[in-house]
């Protein structure tokens, strides 16, 4: 039987959740015995080459590209997991959610104290994804099957959950592993 396939991505996140993933330390050797990685920053595969079993999503959706990738993950992965506060509730990027986008862009590109932008141009290259009105939690865009809270989620939590999903067994997570900070 072929190994289960995992894909991961970081949307509007800081890569901290992926760092915490690497904090499973030497268990990563067990993990690569158990699974195969597809699209992920971990192996640097940029596009899906096959359907996957588990997709881990770090970060919420702050622009059109994030939405595009998230929808692609939903299509390609049987089980989709929000990992980290940003994927679950927008996290720190969502702190802009009660400020109009126009004001955010003006602060960043026009009126910020260290900004030099004489022509007053806002980034408008058509290659660039368009910033959304607010940052959206992943489960408000597509159906997410599981949520792993934490900033970042504890490495042990990631390991326990992945392990259980791969082996398809029930788990009873210890209290200390589920934290929002």
């Amino acid at each position: 039987m072929s190994k289960p396939v995992i894909a991961t991505t970081s949307l509007a996140g800081c890569f901290g959740c992926h760092m915490s993933f690497l904090d499973i330390d030497e268990r990563i050797l067990d993990l690569i015995e158990l699974v195969e990685f597809n699209k992920s920053p971990i192996d640097d595969i940029k596009s899906f080459t096959k359907d996957c079993d588990i997709g881990l999503i770090e970060g919420g959706c702050c622009n059109t590209e994030n939405i595009h990738i998230l929808k692609e993950f939903r299509k390609k992965c049987k089980i989709l997991v929000s990992f980290g506060e940003c994927a679950i509730m927008g996290g720190l990027p969502a702190m802009r959610n009660d400020i109009p986008v126009k004001e955010c862009l003006a602060e960043a590109y026009l009126s910020g104290p260290s900004t030099v932008n004489e022509e007053g141009i806002l980034p408008n290259d058509e290659e660039l994804p368009i910033i959304l009105d607010k940052v959206y939690p992943c489960h408000e865009i597509v159906k997410m099957d599981y949520h792993l809270p934490g900033c970042p989620p504890r490495a042990d939590l990631i390991w326990e959950v992945l392990h259980a999903l791969i082996l398809d067994v029930d788990i009873d997570l210890p209290y200390e592993l589920i934290k929002y900070d």
Binding site: P137, E140, I178
Partner: protein, 250 residues
């Protein structure tokens, strides 16, 4: 007058308490924890958070405002009631803006602790991202309205007791300002100016969330070593326990 003892059951367990004490305290006396965010031992209950909702003879009532009486059949720890409590907690998380990773109260916060206790991984309701502000104008404390759950603990507990005739209640230093969706906690202009260091600290301690914070003391205790980091909120470690001890020594 002799105190009358009430016999009642909580989740089918036979219990006794003095007739007339609130169900929340009667439960406590019988070693049973009923979660709450707004109740505080020794001050008049407000019944504002609804987290302590129990079923008494099949009807939903708040345990902090309902006196215990003879023959009551009380349900506390049932799947239905715990789901209802979770939903209240999830509503509070989605109605305010709770960025726990950036909150000084994280690990000591009772709202968060209850969410942990109920195993909430993500709320069932959509996030509102309501516009709320931070008021840092006071020299000793700041208010982060993003986190306030309007439990009125600060209004009911933090009182100015200077120059008052004995036996009178003291004046509230905190108050509700505005109404409905715009309502927010504000310090009284005059009494607020005289806020002592002790009262400032007490206000921070009794606030169940990270809405009132004392300035220049942040992150003294590192994340990971805080009250609810390793131990779930229970009868033994909630803010109310301390309050209860203080109230009963008086």
């Amino acid at each position: 007058m002799e105190k009358k003892i009430a016999h009642f059951t909580i989740d089918n367990k036979e219990c006794t308490a003095t007739t007339g004490v609130s169900i929340i305290n009667a439960a406590r006396e019988n070693g049973i924890f009923i979660p709450t965010l707004c109740h505080y031992e020794g001050v008049k209950p407000a019944g504002s958070c609804r987290v302590c909702t129990v079923k008494v003879n099949k009807r939903h009532l708040t345990a902090c405002t309902t006196p215990v009486a003879e023959g009551m059949e009380i349900e506390v720890d049932t799947a239905e009631l715990n789901d209802l409590r979770s939903s209240v907690i999830e509503l509070l998380f989605t109605e305010g803006n709770h960025y726990c990773p950036a909150c000084e109260k994280s690990g000591n916060c009772e709202l968060q602790a209850l969410a942990y206790r109920f195993g909430i991984m993500a709320p069932r309701f959509p996030y509102q991202f309501n516009e709320r502000d931070v008021d840092a104008s006071h020299p000793k404390i700041y208010h982060d309205h993003n986190r306030c759950i309007l439990c009125k603990r600060c209004i009911r507990i933090i009182k100015d007791e200077k120059d008052l005739p004995a036996g009178s209640q003291g004046r509230s230093i905190f108050a509700f300002n505005q109404r409905a969706k715009k309502v927010k906690i504000k310090l009284d202009d005059r009494l607020g100016k005289e806020l002592s260091d002790e009262l400032a600290q007490k206000a921070m301690d009794i606030c169940p969330v990270g809405s009132i914070l004392v300035k220049e003391t942040g992150f003294k205790t590192p994340i990971g070593q805080r009250k609810f980091d390793k131990e779930a909120i229970s009868l033994d470690n909630s803010i109310n326990l301390k309050a209860m001890k203080e109230a009963h020594h008086e």
